[in-house]
């Protein structure tokens, strides 16, 4: 047990920190094209696709190096690059399951941000139960004809391509009739409608497909193996988010401490009120524990261990923690926490990170509600922990009973 950073890591961090000091944009990024330029700069510095194999343009960087870059970016509130899903999910899928032609065509562009990708998985009636998806891709000569709707598509309006899961065999059981297909987002019949969130912003879209013709060559892997491909997607980003999450929460807490030092309640500074001290002490402790847990995870990753279902513990931990922390921050700030404009000296967006991305207390608060829903709700994570980590038997569920009955019927028919 030795929780010091290695000399190599310390030097790497210094290098990264120096780069950001020099290169951090001096003004706010406004357009998507400006952000693409910034991405290209990050790519040239070696901070994009860090975990990718070298032969496809990556760095084969260690998890700790990825974590350090993430942490340093969060520390200075650096703008994010583009094509996050493309690099974390689409690229690795192509590397593992794509043809040589698919790889040659897309991988480099994907990494440099020339080609932006989105992920077309979720549907209105397939939330936690993704495998029940209904969007169809019917084979018609050399094409798939796609019909249906996708939802919660992040960055759809900026994307050139989408990685889709679609049903290609409607008679097969729900997991066995799904294929993984690349779709061009400007094809006729594709319509993107931004979806407004309760924050008032539109990070996601609905995407509608009406008789969209896609070349059969756009199939990734074998027909009807899409579910397996999606489930086994191997990310090369190991640990990249672990410390940046902590770092973002720490930035929030730093600002909270400043505000609590300025805000005077009936002549006393908020920070001198024992009740408020307890609340801040509690959040601070929880964030420290998240940091320790992240270091523990990184330490495993550095040894090449792959956290499988244990990742659910981590997801549950940080998403629920964020929700608790933001509730407590709101308690401390009172009406100032809910102000979207005009909060003056107590605002979050007047923090000492002037060139990064603006934010408000209210926006952070609203978004803390999303973390326990997206990317596997807390309920789903608890199921995974219960079944795959603790070894509890699966719950009895309608779809499992149906499956069982169908199997019995098939067996009976075979007799």
């Amino acid at each position: 047990m030795d929780l010091r950073y290695s000399q190599e890591d310390i030097e790497f961090r210094q290098k990264v920190r120096a780069w950001f000091e020099e290169n951090l944009p001096k003004k706010k990024i406004e357009s998507f094209e400006e952000r693409r330029e910034w991405h290209r700069k990050l790519y040239d510095a070696g901070f994009i696709g860090m975990g990718w194999p070298k032969e496809y343009g990556g760095q084969e960087a260690r998890p700790m190096e990825q974590a350090i870059v993430g942490e340093e970016m969060a520390r200075v509130n650096a703008p994010a690059g583009v094509n996050g899903l493309g690099i974390s999910i689409v690229g690795p899928t192509l590397i593992h399951h794509g043809t040589d032609a698919q790889k040659d065509e897309h991988l480099k562009k994907l990494l440099t941000g020339e080609e932006i990708w989105c992920q077309l998985y979720s549907e209105p009636n397939s939330g936690s139960d993704l495998a029940s998806l209904q969007c169809r891709a019917d084979i018609d000569g050399d094409n798939f004809i796609i019909n249906g709707q996708k939802i919660w598509t992040s960055g759809a309006h900026n994307s050139e391509w989408g990685l889709m899961l679609a049903r290609t065999d409607r008679r097969a059981s729900k997991h066995n009739g799904i294929s993984c297909i690349m779709v061009k987002m400007d094809d006729p019949g594709v319509e993107v409608r931004p979806l407004k969130q309760i924050s008032g912003s539109s990070e996601f879209s609905e995407v509608f497909f009406s008789d969209v013709a896609v070349p059969a060559d756009n199939l990734i892997g074998e027909l009807n193996t899409g579910w397996r491909i999606a489930q086994t997607t191997l990310s090369y980003e190991r640990g990249g988010n672990t410390l940046s999450r902590v770092s973002r929460l720490q930035t929030t807490l730093d600002r909270l401490l400043e505000v609590a030092g300025e805000l005077r309640v009936d002549g006393t500074r908020a920070i001198d009120d024992p009740r408020i001290r307890q609340k801040i002490g509690q959040i601070y402790s929880e964030v420290e524990v998240l940091r320790y847990a992240s270091l523990r995870l990184l330490s495993k990753l550095e040894k090449g261990e792959r956290p499988g279902p244990e990742a659910s513990v981590s997801k549950l931990h940080y998403s629920e923690l964020d929700k608790r922390a933001q509730e407590i921050i709101q308690e401390i700030l009172g009406p100032y926490g809910q102000q979207i404009s005009g909060a003056g000296e107590y605002a979050f967006d007047e923090s000492d990170v002037p060139y990064g991305e603006a934010d408000t207390w209210a926006y952070q608060f609203v978004w803390s509600r999303a973390g326990t829903i997206y990317a596997g709700s807390s309920q789903i994570q608890k199921n995974i922990i219960g079944e795959r980590v603790l070894g509890l038997p699966k719950e009895i569920r309608a779809d499992r009973i149906e499956l069982e009955e169908r199997r019995k019927e098939e067996a009976a028919a075979d007799d």
Binding site: L195, E327, A398
Partner: protein, 378 residues
């Protein structure tokens, strides 16, 4: 011992619910979010036209007490209604009534009751707290009237009000003594209102700056605190009822959704994770109901534990509505996080009212003070 509503109270609820559900459509609520004024004056007048006004009858009201006020506010929370009813009729209305100043009552209440006058109470300052020490705005005698100076924050519908009731000091520098209540015409010189955008876009507030603004005294000079405290207490209980309405509606939507939304071949309400959440939410909603209406009754009956009950009601409604509305989003999953789905209305309205008229910390402290002072029911 009868905890049920009277027939008159049930009729009042039906009347309010019928008007609000029929007249305040979701489209209207969304429209008002973008509207500069933030509410529809005609609609507001028409609601007041129903006559459901908790003012004394001699001033254009229906003689309603706090129980009736809570019924109306619960129904408004179920919509939730965008407009200055709470700010004018409950908050400012109570500030005037509790001042005991009959001149002020006859001058303002009838016009507030028919919708000619939107009035608000400018109380909070920078420290955003509800104790006497908060008040640092000052008023100095000037001929027959006063000149008022100071900055008030988070004034409900402060940019839309015709008249602002302002708590300011005419005497000592802190403490309850020396606080007076004034009426200031919003369009007079030296009054500058800057709207604040809040999380709940339908709950409008403003920062109002007073620079030598002409002010008219309400009640006795230096003796306004007791009345203000009573008014804020009543506002807290009415806000509790509004939060109760929001929470109950969010819970109902969640139960309905859990009965139809299918995942893994069954409706999600069959999963214990969802079913048990919905059961816990019901318990909290029912507790908020018991607490809000007990407090309303205690205030109306001038019971010895009325202040205690008011604080119990607000802290209970704060915690219950926060939990229930938050869990409602979780039960809904992704759809609950969309702007198009109405659930966030309730979550945001409840969150808004949570921090006004005393947050949970404030009211828990006050509960203890009342208990130590022996102001309990036993």
């Amino acid at each position: 011992m009868d905890f049920d509503f009277t027939e008159d109270q049930n009729m009042l609820r039906d009347l309010a619910r019928e008007f609000l559900t029929e007249q305040v459509s979701v489209a209207h609520i969304r429209e008002m979010m973008e509207d500069e004024t933030g509410y529809d004056k005609d609609l507001y007048r028409r609601f007041l036209g129903l006559g459901l006004i908790p003012f004394p009858e001699e001033y254009g009201g229906a003689g309603f007490g706090m129980v009736e006020s809570c019924i109306i506010m619960e129904e408004m929370g179920r919509i939730p209604y965008p407009g200055p009813f709470f700010g004018t009729v409950i908050l400012a209305g109570q500030a005037i009534i509790q001042s005991g100043d009959e001149n002020a009552m006859s001058r303002y209440l009838p016009d507030m009751a028919n919708g000619d006058l939107v009035v608000s109470l400018a109380f909070l300052e920078d420290s955003a707290s509800w104790t006497p020490a908060t008040i640092t705005a000052t008023a100095t005698k000037d001929g027959n009237g006063y000149k008022l100076n100071g900055t008030k924050r988070f004034v409900p519908w402060g940019a839309q009000a015709d008249v602002l009731l302002v708590a300011a000091r005419t005497g000592e520098a802190s403490g309850p003594d020396g606080i007076s209540l004034f009426a200031v015409q919003a369009n007079s010189d030296g009054v500058e209102a800057t709207p604040e955008t809040m999380l709940d876009l339908n709950s409008r507030t403003a920062t109002v700056k007073f620079s030598d603004a002409s002010a008219e005294l309400i009640g006795e000079e230096g003796n306004a605190w007791a009345g203000l405290d009573r008014a804020i207490q009543r506002a807290a209980v009415a806000a509790s009822a509004e939060m109760l309405g929001a929470a109950r509606r969010a819970h109902e939507m969640s139960v309905d959704y859990a009965k139809v939304r299918r995942q893994f071949g069954q409706v999600i309400g069959q999963f214990q994770a969802i079913k048990h959440k919905l059961a816990e939410m019901l318990e909290q909603v029912e507790n908020a109901h018991s607490a809000a209406y007990y407090a309303a009754w205690a205030l109306d009956a001038d019971a010895p534990d009325a202040t205690l009950a008011a604080s119990v009601a607000k802290s209970t409604a704060n915690e219950a509505s926060r939990h229930v509305c938050g869990e409602a989003i979780q039960v809904h999953g992704g759809i609950g996080f969309t702007w198009e789905y109405d659930l966030h209305f309730y979550w945001k309205r409840a969150k808004h009212q949570e921090v006004f008229y005393g947050d949970s910390d404030y009211h828990r402290e006050r509960v203890l003070q009342e208990v130590l002072a022996g102001n309990v029911a036993r």
